[in-house]
């Protein structure tokens, strides 16, 4: 239990997923939905799931320890895991889950990590306790209501960190920096703008209504690029994501109709 709406489920087995990849979870006789992997090693993997729709609410209610779910995957491409770099992770809401996994793998590879998390209020923050205990990871918190951390958008912290880094002389100049983000598309878009201005590379994770997970059905194809996000994403470099028309403006529902974010 992460907060009243969010639970983390731990599955036994070697999934072999990379940070940013996802799996399709099947509840027999109900439905099948995609979830990003929050942690994975050769013995277990975690899925952090918020009860937001009929499927996830039913999962929270009916799925108890020892019961069976179908899991297929991992699908998608995942974030780049760098070696011995200084990286900034920017998480909005549930986005903290896949970025926790990325932080874990990056630290293992000798990276120094700035982990920025943001949420509406302190009750909706995810993973902050675990992140604060990680070695070589500095946690930065922003909440919309200021109930914990800085009051305001988490992208302000990103801006501040990039500016500080620009003038720093710790051997990790801004040219060495790398940003990865996961969260609401509007937040990721402003992070892209900040990074473009600062000339820092960024990877974003694009969420779309997925069905097959294998680049066949076409439901998650994005305008502009025309590619299925389940296969050519969900992680994309900022330059690629910028070519999505309607980025941070619309996505599509289960029949392909546009919905504004």
């Amino acid at each position: 239990m992460e907060n009243p709406m969010v639970k983390t489920y731990i599955f036994k087995g070697n999934l072999g997923a990379k940070p940013g990849q996802f799996v399709n979870v099947w509840m027999p006789r109900v439905d099948e939905k995609p979830f990003s992997v929050a942690y994975c090693d050769d013995k277990e993997f975690w899925l952090t799931i918020a009860a937001v729709g009929p499927f996830t609410k039913k999962l929270h209610k009916d799925f108890v320890k020892g019961s069976k779910l179908g899991v297929r995957g991992p699908y998608g491409n995942g974030y780049t895991v760098l070696k011995n770099k200084h990286i900034v992770l920017l998480a909005g809401g549930y986005g903290a889950a896949p970025l926790y996994f990325l932080a874990h793998e990056s630290v293992k590879n000798g990276c120094k990590v700035e982990f920025i998390v943001g949420a509406k209020n302190k009750d909706l923050l995810l993973y902050t306790e675990m992140i604060s205990k990680m070695e070589n990871v500095s946690l930065h918190i922003a909440t919309d209501d200021g109930s914990v951390g800085m009051k305001g958008y988490n992208t302000l912290i990103l801006e501040k960190l990039l500016a500080e880094q620009n003038g720093s002389s710790d051997g990790h100049g801004i040219a060495e920096l790398f940003v990865a983000t996961c969260g609401p598309e509007v937040m990721m878009k402003s992070a892209m703008d900040i990074c473009e201005k600062a000339d820092v590379p960024i990877e974003v994770s694009i969420e779309r209504y997925m069905k097959c997970g294998t680049g066949v059905c076409g439901n998650c194809c994005v305008d502009g690029l025309g590619v299925p996000v389940c296969k050519k994403g969900p992680v994309m470099r900022g330059e690629m994501a910028r070519k999505i028309s309607g980025l941070a403006k619309w996505h599509r529902d289960n029949v392909g109709l546009k919905i504004n974010w």
Binding site: C217, D223, G226, P228, V255, L257
Partner: protein
């Protein structure tokens, strides 16, 4: 490698099958950039049609099974997306232009008239009528494609409302008399046939939970395993009618395309092939066809259509 089909020029014989990567106009464009000689829209309904819950598909090395349930946003959504593709296509140099086939589906003869009118206004190069999806039934609860009279009636009403756009009909392979049904469509004005939709229905059961995997329990079977069955359906159809055929079913390679063409297909659809070889399957298959043509000194691909059949 160009093929003339119903008076429309296709730069190569590979065609994206309906229901694959066809939700968004820019996705069709991406398929063309990856080498397809023609693209087919997903089946378009008059109004919004929700598909089945998941899982909607599953694939193994040998077969692919799906029951997506023909989800669609309706004709107005199709207008926006298909127009977007058509505008882009028209902006390309002529030799690079790739025809669009607009696939339509309806639950009744009356709705077939309306959706045909709607698709005519959008103006694709060809209209393909889906009478073979298991979700679409005539008054006796069978797909239109399972009865020569119903198949003919659906063809006739679409033809009447399609204006000058050539009309082709997508048949079901799950009948014992595909030749008879093909003839009924031909007599009712069809200018071509697509042979065929998925086989089945089939079922896969997860033995850990003892549950059918597809939410719809049953689904249409495609993929490598059905190829010999599909080749035979094309052969039977080509033996029965004079109108040209788009053959499909388990096409993975350039050699598969040649095989379908020799059985009587002028164009060859690729659907599940995208699952096995990615969207890049089109350019790979085209390169494999070219290689075969050079090896076998075939200058005009059109000459091999029905070559096995005519012997």
């Amino acid at each position: 490698m160009t093929i003339n089909f119903c008076g429309v020029t296709f730069p190569n014989p590979t065609v994206l099958a309906s229901g694959i990567l066809g939700v968004v106009g820019d996705s069709l464009k991406n398929v063309v950039i990856n080498g397809a000689g023609g693209v087919t829209s997903k089946s378009v309904w008059l109004t919004r049609h929700d598909g089945h819950p998941g899982p909607v598909m599953m694939g193994t090395q040998n077969f692919y099974i799906n029951a997506v349930g023909l989800p669609d946003g309706g004709i107005e959504k199709a207008r926006e997306e298909l127009k977007k593709y058509m505008e882009w296509n028209e902006s390309q140099p002529e030799e690079k232009q790739v025809p669009l086939i607009g696939n339509i589906v309806a639950g009744s003869i009356k709705d077939f008239a309306e959706i045909a009118k709607g698709m005519r206004q959008i103006g694709p190069d060809i209209i393909e009528v889906n009478i073979s999806c298991p979700n679409v039934e005539d008054e006796f609860g069978r797909p239109f494609a399972h009865c020569a009279i119903s198949a003919g009636a659906a063809t006739e009403i679409v033809k009447k409302n399609a204006g000058k756009i050539p009309v082709i009909v997508k048949l079901s392979p799950n009948v014992g008399n595909i030749g008879e049904i093909a003839k009924a469509c031909e007599a009712s004005g069809a200018e071509g046939l697509t042979v065929a939709n998925t086989f089945g229905p089939g079922m896969v059961i997860d033995i850990d939970t003892a549950e059918p995997i597809l939410a719809n329990k049953v689904g249409g079977v495609s993929g490598p395993g059905i190829k010999p069955l599909a080749v035979k359906k094309v052969w039977d159809t080509a033996s029965a009618v004079k109108i040209p055929i788009i053959g499909m079913g388990g096409v993975m390679t350039g050699r598969d395309v040649i095989e379908f063409m020799m059985a009587g297909a002028s164009l060859v659809g690729i659907g599940a092939g995208v699952y096995y070889r990615g969207v890049e399957v089109f350019s790979s298959v085209v390169a494999e066809i070219e290689e075969w043509m050079v090896e076998n000194k075939v200058a005009n691909l059109q000459n091999i259509v029905g070559k096995a059949l005519k012997k």
